[in-house]
């Protein structure tokens, strides 16, 4: 109940267009990809010993992820994780991180 007046109040008060505010949340790729950030840092900006995604392009990341899934690339844990996704999902995750701010 409270959400509706609150919503309207701010929309009206600040003259905001009544449009979806942040499309990201509805984007299932964002939710899927953000699960990776626990190990690789928010938006892939790893600060520690985990590989960062920043500076890598989508094709590079796609190849890494596909090779982890197929077993072509040796891993300690990424082989186990990549197998949880389809190739399409891995490609979408790669594209998402490549598109995030450097």
């Amino acid at each position: 109940m409270r959400g509706i007046p609150t919503t309207l109040a701010l929309c009206l008060a600040f003259g905001l267009a009544i449009l979806p505010a942040a499309a990201k949340a509805a984007d299932p790729v964002a939710v899927m990809a953000d699960a990776c950030s626990g190990c690789h840092g928010t938006d892939g900006h790893s600060i520690g010993g985990m590989p960062a995604f920043s500076g890598k392009n989508a094709d590079e990341l796609k190849k890494f992820l596909r090779d982890y899934k197929s077993g072509a690339r040796e891993a300690t844990v990424m082989d186990r994780i990549a197998k949880g996704y389809s190739v399409e999902q891995l490609d979408a995750i790669a594209a998402y991180f490549a598109s995030r701010k450097k």
């Binding site: 109040a9 505010a21 939710v31 953000d34 950030s37 626990g38």
Partner: protein
């Protein structure tokens, strides 16, 4: 600051009140209030990602303490590898960079009908949606004799902070050749591999500083997370130190007399130099008091949104929630927090919540240069959160030194990243 904006807010709400009848204008969620209880991995990540997914939200995080000591890596303090500052997380980046309002206060009541939470200091916070992430509490006296007072003599150290410091001091004070006992609980409990990582790192400390000491794990179970890997590592590293006693061999601790320093199983009495009793657990106290838990002591939720099935507009994440096959770990809590943040943003806009996709990764250290891991990728299967088959699992058996060392280094990287992703 807060009071002024709040008054302004109420004024606006009043002015707009009449217009709400028009309805249908739900696309803008600007200013909707989301309150988060708990500043651990679940709560901090939820607060940060709520603002990331919808910067216009009014997000308030309430934690009883000024800073949070993480359970992950608290065992490295017992092992003498790190100090308490290493596991202390502050909330200032959430405030300054992400625009979260943070209050140090204890939430004592949730009024699900009025949609208000009340704190010990007398403050009230209204919410449109509430995210409850209070971690765990203990079933005092589930082990007869082990109550809160006993935990000041025989620490559980299963919430990091003063308990960790107490256990560390006891280890430092014990004589060489002494006995350490760890009592491990039955399932479910926070951090399933935790007691065994703890045994490993305490053994590392004993090996170096308290020669000829022994460590006995008295277990209420016959199997545990990554058990084959732990046993393989113990044989290599701590064969003459660690002994694991399963429930089937009367490992279950049935009674404790903290003042007398006695730990009992059905068949034996021990008088260890140091006793670490990890008791059975429930959801955090506030979740239980608010009627969010079922008979199991944990909180049933809709797996897609983590909304409580018992109280509307309240979401429960992390160790307090019943999350199917996701273990009660910091990484799980953080992954659940993002799903929940996205779901809350969608629900506040009157949209359908997105798809579920979650990961858990969890490293355990057996020594500074010996790490093992478990990973899982999760989806909703038959209405429950379950492991995606063919994915996940534990590190390989029989791996060489380089592999274990690499995983130990990744454990440190993991910790740095998951903390950055949650609090910074």
């Amino acid at each position: 600051m807060f009071n002024i904006s709040r008054r302004t807010f109420n004024g606006l709400m009043g002015a707009a009140g009449a217009l709400t009848m028009a309805g249908g204008l739900s696309a803008c969620s600007g200013g909707a209030k989301v309150v988060v209880i708990g500043g651990g991995f679940g709560g901090a990540t939820a607060a940060k990602y709520l603002k990331r997914y919808d910067p216009s939200l009014d997000v308030t995080l309430i934690d009883a303490d000024k800073t949070h000591f993480t359970c992950p890596f608290s065992n490295t303090i017992l092992g003498g590898m790190n100090d308490m500052a290493y596991i202390e997380r502050k909330f200032d980046v959430l405030v300054n960079k992400h625009g979260v309002k943070v209050y140090t206060d204890l939430v004592v009541a949730i009024d699900g009908a009025a949609k208000v939470v009340k704190t010990k200091s007398g403050q009230t916070f209204a919410y449109d949606r509430l995210i409850v992430s209070p971690g765990i509490d203990f079933k005092w006296n589930a082990i007869p004799g082990y109550d809160e007072a006993a935990s000041h003599i025989m620490p559980h150290a299963w919430k990091a902070g003063p308990q960790t410091v107490l256990l560390k001091k006891q280890l430092e004070a014990m004589p060489a050749g002494g006995l350490v006992v760890i009592s491990a609980p039955g399932n479910p409990f926070r951090c399933p591999p935790g007691p065994y990582e703890r045994a490993s790192l305490i053994a590392a400390y004993l090996k170096k500083h308290k020669p000829k000491s022994k460590l006995l794990i008295l277990d209420s179970k016959d199997a545990f997370a990554k058990d084959k890997l732990f046993k393989e590592g113990w044989e290599k590293l701590y064969d003459d130190i660690i002994e694991w006693v399963p429930a089937a061999k009367n490992g279950k601790v049935t009674k404790v007399d903290a003042k007398a320093g006695v730990v009992e199983t059905d068949f034996e009495k021990f008088k260890p130099a140091v006793a670490n009793i990890i008791p059975p657990q429930t959801a955090g106290k506030i979740a239980i008091d608010a009627g969010l838990a079922d008979k199991s002591g944990f909180c049933p939720v809709n797996p897609l949104t983590f909304e409580s099935t018992l109280v509307k507009d309240v979401h429960v994440i992390g160790d307090s929630s019943i999350a199917g096959e996701m273990p009660k770990s910091g990484y799980s809590a953080s992954s659940q927090a993002k799903i929940t943040a996205a779901a809350v943003v969608a629900l506040l806009k009157g949209e359908k919540p997105g798809e579920f996709s979650a990961i858990n990764t969890c490293y355990s250290l057996l020594a500074a240069d010996y790490g093992i891991s478990v990973a899982g990728v999760f989806s909703i299967q038959d209405g429950k959160i379950a492991n995606i088959k063919g994915a996940g699992g534990v590190s390989p058996m029989g791996a060489n030194y380089q592999f274990r060392k690499k995983e130990a280094d990744f454990a440190v990287g993991w910790y740095q990243s998951v903390c950055q992703d949650s609090w910074a």
